[in-house]
């Protein structure tokens, strides 16, 4: 025990000595949480669209101004012909074109069938689909109001739970939290052991009487404390500046975050054990964890839409479970009765990584 403490102390000195790295370590997450919390959103607003009005009547002008009044769209260009459309798309100025046909007004008044063409720039298909849906709702609404006055039928009364203003932050902040904690923790520890290998000080450790588990623990503890401080600062920021209330139990959130942090630190240690140079260790931890976590943890893209093999792979990503937990505890305010499964899985991952790390470390020593 005493041995461990001395070793931890030594590691701490190493970490604290490097003021610049410390500054980067704390400054980075703070800036990122704020930046992404405020800036990111998949809301559709002020999307520039073009309109090719072949009807040119008061009614069609009314429809256009109705569309323009909607916060989703800005009518940017009155196109003269369909030939102009392709060039506007190629230059990337507008994202969608609504074609109002000749005799639009006439058919509307006579109650005949009307065809409206909606041409969308499909290069970003997710976005194209979203604006197509919004626009067709606006058009359908308009049409319904003009023609079916006597019959309005069933109207939905919509209640947006947990996030009435459809802000980006309730979705992105838990995700960014998971991502930042993951990468910071993995990166910090991934370098720790490799650096000793590179500088040759590992040899000294090898001949010392310390057990592998003691060495791993001592390497991880200072980084664990650092990560907790980072976690606390992210939480304070979300509550004070991003207006994200922590609805659930704060202690529960911290306990589970602890499990998540330890899991990531162990992942870093494992990478560290398996590689020989800092460069490779860091490249693996970054290129190998950043994009997969970003894309498979569920905060960017819904997991249930992914092909089954990918859904299975996503289960291996600790951040996926942590993200679900944070979302539930922080935003929804649910407790352990809802998230026990995720917590258990995270815990199992942590235990498994620990066993592997200790085993592998031994193997390398012999």
């Amino acid at each position: 025990m005493k041995q461990l403490l001395i070793f931890v102390q030594k590691e701490f000195y190493h970490v604290l000595r490097d003021k610049r790295t410390l500054l980067i370590l704390f400054g980075m997450p703070v800036v990122q949480v704020l930046l992404f919390g405020f800036a990111l959103s998949t809301e559709v607003k002020n999307t520039k669209i073009g309109i090719l009005d072949q009807d040119k009547t008061q009614i069609s002008a009314e429809l256009i101004s109705k569309i323009n009044a909607n916060q989703y769209f800005d009518v940017d260009k009155n196109l003269k012909s369909i030939n102009q459309a392709e060039n506007s798309f190629k230059g990337g100025e507008i994202k969608m074109i609504l074609v109002i046909p000749q005799q639009f007004t006439e058919n509307l008044i006579l109650g005949k069938k009307i065809q409206l063409q909606l041409i969308t720039d499909g290069t970003d298909i997710n976005f194209a689909n979203q604006i197509y849906n919004f626009m067709s709702n606006i058009l359908m609404d308009y049409y319904g109001q003009r023609t079916l006055q006597s019959f309005s039928g069933v109207q939905p009364e919509i209640r947006m739970l947990y996030n009435p203003q459809l802000k980006g932050a309730p979705n992105f902040v838990p995700g960014v939290m998971a991502l930042i904690l993951l990468i910071i923790c993995v990166l910090m520890t991934a370098v720790a052991i490799v650096r000793e290998k590179e500088s040759g000080t590992m040899e000294v450790l090898l001949v010392s009487p310390m057990k592998p588990s003691t060495i791993i623990l001592a390497k991880a503890i200072p980084y664990f404390i650092l990560s907790m401080v980072i976690l606390i600062s992210i939480m304070i920021l979300s509550v004070t500046l991003l207006d994200l209330p922590i609805k659930g139990n704060l202690i529960l959130l911290f306990l589970i975050s602890t499990i998540f942090i330890i899991t990531n630190l162990l992942l870093g240690i494992l990478i560290s054990i398996l590689t020989d140079t800092q460069q490779v260790a860091m490249l693996i931890s970054l290129v190998g964890t950043m994009l997969p976590t970003l894309m498979l943890s569920g905060f960017m893209f819904p997991i249930e839409n992914m092909p089954v093999p990918l859904q299975l792979i996503s289960n291996l990503i600790p951040a996926k479970w942590y993200y679900e937990i944070v979302k539930n505890v922080m935003i929804k305010g649910t407790g352990l009765e809802v998230i026990w499964k995720q917590t258990l899985i995270l815990f199992a991952m942590m235990a498994l990584l620990f066993v592997i790390a200790v085993k592998k470390f031994k193997v390398r020593l012999e």
Binding site: D18, T21, M28, V31, Q32, F36, A39, L40, T42, E43, V44, N46, K48, K90, K95, K113, I114, L116, L118, I119, T120, D121, G122, T123, D124, I125, N126, F127, N133, F134, S136, N137, L148, F151, G153, V154, P156, E157, I158, M160, L161, G168, N171, L187, V191, T277, Q278, Q279, V280, M282, L283, V287, L291, P292, F301, P302, L310, I313, T334, V338
Partner: protein, 374 residues
């Protein structure tokens, strides 16, 4: 002068090829990610899980439920007894939305021609919530028309010959293939990530190992030194890009619409800018760890604020300026535009302008700054 540069480049290549792990990272990891990740990235929302609380249990309400299931977007998981009970299912993440049909639904609809249903949606993910609401609105529209005919058969002919039909067309992507939009974007990001890291780490590594001292006391000029670092990594990055492009074309069957010359022209300049940024970080950092964190910091911002995952249009105004100052925004957009839209050099002028300006600034900065430290 060219002889020194040639020798430096040769030395650099020897060092790179000695390290098999780095080569794997450059060439294998991006290919794997490019093959796997785009499969994940779809907002095409299907199987929205829904809990129905039907207080009416009438023919009309059952017909509404049938129409919702038949649309293919929704999957009814649960028939709740009450709203609070269904709400618990949302709490447990078992369902995404609740549809509550009130008592006397059929009666009100027949008598007054209008009725409300409650739609409560888990809106933590705003996009998904917005799309779900929009799909349901479309289903209701259809339902209303059908009910109208049922209640007043004389309107049937009118309904048949009237109505609004919206004809969607997704240009440059007629088959609604979401991989088409993601693959070129992810390709752009992966080469940015790799080339940025390579240079960022390289000079620092020499600093840490002390080998940079030897270069500093040798008669190699600073410009030679920087170029000697830049050219090999530039060639490697171009090669990594080519492999990625082959994956794009062969694995995903994405047809190249634009000119290869224009694409390679852009990527060549783009990579110089990104490698230059890496060099700049490298020149300023003391340890590999530091430069790694700094690059990571910028890469996160670069990727999340590039419009690759969330559209630039949706960002707040100040955030848009960050997006417009972000090289990856131009990289992703330009590569997409050339591959998918056959955009011309003229269309890409802003992209070329920004990227070449950036390349000149960062490389001269790196050269100047490097000189000062000695």
């Amino acid at each position: 002068m060219f002889r020194t540069l040639g020798i430096l480049i040769k030395k650099e290549f020897l060092q790179i090829f000695r390290n098999k792990a780095i080569l794997a990272v450059i060439f294998v990891m991006p290919v794997i990610q490019l093959v796997i990740l785009p499969l994940a990235a779809s907002y095409e929302i299907k199987n929205i899980k829904i809990a129905v609380v039907d207080h009416d249990k009438s023919t009309f309400s059952r017909e509404l439920i049938r129409k919702i299931t038949a649309s293919g977007y929704f999957e009814i998981i649960n028939y709740g007894e009450s709203y609070p009970q269904a709400y618990q299912e949302i709490e447990k993440d078992k369902v995404d939305l609740i549809l509550e049909i009130p008592n006397n639904f059929e009666k009100n609809l027949v008598r007054e021609n209008n009725e409300k249903v409650l739609l409560a949606i888990n809106a933590i993910n705003g996009t998904k919530a917005g799309l779900s609401a929009s799909y349901l609105a479309q289903i209701l529209q259809n339902y209303n028309r059908q009910i109208q005919v049922e209640l007043a058969p004389e309107t049937e002919n009118i309904t048949k010959t009237s109505g609004l039909e919206i004809v969607p067309q997704f240009w440059f992507n007629e088959n609604y293939n979401y991989r088409l939009s993601l693959v070129p974007g992810i390709l752009a990001f992966l080469i940015t990530l790799i080339s940025g890291y390579l240079t960022a780490l390289n000079i620092v590594q020499e600093k840490e190992n002390g080998t940079i001292e030897q270069i500093n006391v040798s008669p190699v000029t600073k410009a030679d030194f920087i170029m000697g670092k830049l050219i090999p990594f530039w060639l490697l990055s171009m090669l990594a890009f080519t492999i990625g492009l082959l994956v794009t074309i062969l694995v995903y069957g994405i047809q190249m619409q634009g000119s290869f010359l224009l694409l390679y022209g852009f990527v060549a300049v783009y990579l110089i800018a990104i490698l230059g940024l890496g060099l700049l970080v490298s020149v300023y950092s003391e340890t590999q760890q530091q430069s790694m964190f700094v690059v990571f910091f910028f890469m996160m911002i670069f990727i999340l604020m590039s419009g690759l995952f969330t559209p630039v249009e949706s960002m707040t105004d100040w955030a848009k300026y960050i997006a417009y100052a972000n090289p990856v925004t131009y990289g992703v957009e330009a590569i997409r535009m050339i591959i998918l839209k056959n955009s011309s050099f003229k269309d890409l002028l802003p992209h070329f302008g920004f990227i070449s300006g950036l390349a000149i600034v960062v490389i001269s900065w790196a050269v100047l700054r490097y000189r000062k430290t000695n």
